[in-house]
Point group: C2
């Protein structure tokens, strides 16, 4: 049986190295092969074939994921969707677009911006990441505070189920689809329930106006309070980002320095968009809130070039850590906004305990923290310490009534930490669903849910850590 051409398969060890992990590099495994598919039918046939020979498999887009969702345990076939990269249909009148899963996120906005539209979810990797991967991880981004994460922008999916069946979920932009919400269930299921082969997304009309504020603080608690006060004032900015001093040190040493003062404790980057007439009032209110919270300096971007620079500085924040540390581990916790100061203090304690610097980049408006644990993998034991410190940061978030991931997913990285926030019954409800779709666990095995072994290990480590 021949499903794809010879040039569509990689199987040599040297070719497979690039597929041993995705953007989460702490765990690696070698796949059996990588197959590049061109259409839904091929995906369905490959899935049926792999079922018949009981070989596990993983769907993969651009490989920019940050929790190892596309990382092999070893021996899986990777089904690469990067060649399914067409924009299939644009229907601006009804505000939607249909794309293949390998279509790059940013391309969608680029191809409709001249007509006055854009696609809202904007992960920092949007220049490279694919919309299929965004669906798998339910990706977020800086502007998700106002506009919601990926799941809020998906109108329909075509999915190849693990039995090879092709199903259509969702329809013509209907707000309430009858039956169970399989569209929502598949979105964010981290490649464990099916392989998405076609995606209908909402596109939005460009806002009439947009203004961006940068506010420098000497005390990070003042910055946190300003975040709460802005939201309490009834303003929902399009984006409300924070960086602490360590993170600022990184971005200023990297590709897009803004010239932030060297001695500030934190900055807020706040963007307001919407109907032009309302924006100036909101900006005035935001400036007032910033000043009431002891801001050192606050300014509005004077033109589009300045705004773009501020955002480039922010959006390359993770990679920028490379400028101040040989390695870094991105974490992704969520907390109730009002508990920011207390959580930051506890993350500071984790940093001290493990002797590792932790930088903090936040989608502050929705309480989504990204503690970046800086380490040097060449120093024996330091990778392990970084992993433990990362896990403890998530425990801090969970204990504050939050969650272990805001937008990066659980993947292979945080499956044990699922126990921080779910009871056994709650995990069972989910693994039961997985068993329905994926009864032999051939699709993306070992992801998302706690593996009994590793989980016990983590629990013990945490107990020891608490005892210390």
């Amino acid at each position: 049986m021949k499903i794809v051409g010879e040039k569509d398969v990689l199987y040599l060890k040297e070719d497979l190295v690039a597929y041993e992990c995705d953007g989460y590099t702490m765990t690696k495994g070698t796949p059996k092969a990588v197959v590049f598919v061109k259409n839904t039918e091929q995906v369905s046939q490959i899935v049926k074939y792999l079922n018949s020979v009981k070989v596990p498999y993983i769907a993969r887009g651009a490989g920019t994921g940050l929790s190892g969702g596309a990382t092999p345990l070893g021996g899986e076939v990777i089904i690469s969707l990067v060649r399914m990269k067409k924009l299939l249909h644009l229907d601006l009148e009804n505000r939607k677009a249909v794309v293949e899963p390998g279509y790059v996120n940013l391309k969608l906005t680029q191809s409709i911006s001249d007509k006055g539209y854009y696609y809202a979810p904007d992960p920092s990797s949007q220049y490279a990441c694919t919309i299929g991967g965004n669906v798998a991880e339910n990706a977020g981004g800086a502007h998700c505070l106002k506009y919601g994460v990926t799941t809020n922008h998906i109108l329909g999916l075509e999915v190849v189920l693990p039995n090879g069946d092709i199903i259509q979920l969702g329809e013509e932009g209907i707000p309430d689809r009858p039956g169970y919400d399989l569209l929502g269930l598949l979105t964010g299921s981290e490649g464990t329930l099916g392989i998405v082969t076609k995606i209908t997304v909402k596109v939005l009309k460009n806002p009439e106006g947009k203004k961006t504020v940068l506010a420098y603080y000497d005390d990070i608690n003042d910055a946190s309070q300003a975040v709460s006060d802005i939201i309490s004032a009834g303003i929902i900015p399009a984006a409300l980002e924070m960086m602490d001093s360590t993170a600022i040190e990184g971005v200023e040493a990297a590709a897009f320095p803004v010239g932030h003062p060297k001695d500030i404790a934190a900055f807020l980057l706040i963007e307001v968009d919407g109907i032009a007439a309302g924006i100036d009032d909101q900006i005035e209110e935001i400036l007032t809130v910033c000043k009431n919270n002891n801001v050192r300096e606050v300014k509005v971007a004077k033109d589009e070039a300045e705004r773009a620079l501020w955002w480039a500085n922010r959006k390359t924040g993770f990679g920028a850590m490379g400028a101040i540390s040989p390695d870094y581990l991105v974490q992704d916790g969520v907390i109730p906004r009002t508990r920011l100061p207390e959580v930051l203090a506890k993350i500071g304690e984790v940093s001290k305990k493990y002797g590792l610097r932790i930088a903090n980049i936040f989608h502050a408006g929705d309480g989504n923290l990204h503690p970046l644990v800086l380490f040097d993998a060449r120093v024996p034991g330091e990778s392990e310490r970084a992993s433990k410190a990362g896990s403890e940061c998530l425990k801090v978030c969970a204990d504050a009534g939050g969650s272990i991931t805001g937008e990066h997913g659980v993947g292979i990285e945080k499956s044990a930490e699922m126990r921080f926030i779910f009871t056994d019954e709650e995990i069972e409800s989910q693994t039961n669903i997985r068993s329905v779709f994926n009864p032999e666990d051939l699709l993306n095995p070992g992801k998302l849910f706690p593996q009994p072994g590793r989980c016990a290990e983590i629990k013990q480590e945490l107990k020891k850590a608490e005892a210390q």
Copy 2:
């Protein structure tokens, strides 16, 4: 074993009559008993007990549902949640509220409006329907065009599973919960996957301003085109409603007549809300669009009293049909907005074919139609003809690329019609999920999915109808 008191159980035939159906009155069944519960633990214990004796059961709120979701087939125990009606917790700083399932929808807005907040989903039955029922049916309402249906406002649920386990879904307003989206899955599952015992909802800040427009049209196609043009202009009104002449005849004969001209073909009721500064511009634009589409007369509500009257007139639209017809059957189809004129013409043909008047009330902005089939149950055969006409209206919607329900759910009424929009594989994916949660089908049996017998029957009827 005693779980509730004696006064908490109804079992006499005369007491059970009121529970033979909900707001959908075309199908009735007598329950074995009705049990009133006061807390989650009681629900869990009753569910465990009923499992042990293999007696089927149904959760019920106010019984205002319009698709028979809470209607017994016969012999079920109804678990009534109306006494679990407390507002448990208000956290306006984080914009959320926690309520019991029997809490009445409108009460939430009433209890926070003085503090400047409200709960957005507004089904027309909101003065009576419970938030638990809204969750089960994923209820909509006039203002869901801008603000989304119930699922967009649910942050967390406590659920008693059919095995009696109590699980918590969702958390402190976290936009992307890890793992599978069980919160989304349970919402709108029409009482077939679990019984919701606690609900955390989003509350919204009252908009700064609000303005309401009423536009009278001589030609319904002009009104339809105005709807499309308003959305195309980039305006998303809070509500964008339409009524046709038959519906207007009904509301003018009922409790809240506005004095609409008797000879118009349709009116649009359009509400804009948001930042005060932007509203006047939007209203200007809407007036222009209306005029460009041959409006006969268009006016802005002069005060809150006039606005309230217009809405009372609209929101009592279904009941108002009682003023012009002994009986009526509400349907609930969805279509792509741009296909309104063609679908209305086809519904007109259905009306002629069955010799029954059909009134149309629409959430026009999101393409959600409510054809109201007027009939007289005392005339032999007329109920059956009304049911068939209703089903054919849904077929028209499905064939136009739409759906068989926008906000009323599938229930017992439209389970056969699920085949209009789902393939066998797609239905199987859903019934598989149901089997995981509800393996013995004791929880709300016979709802949501096609029963093989009835489905074959409907198919045959449609074939015959087409052949005629």
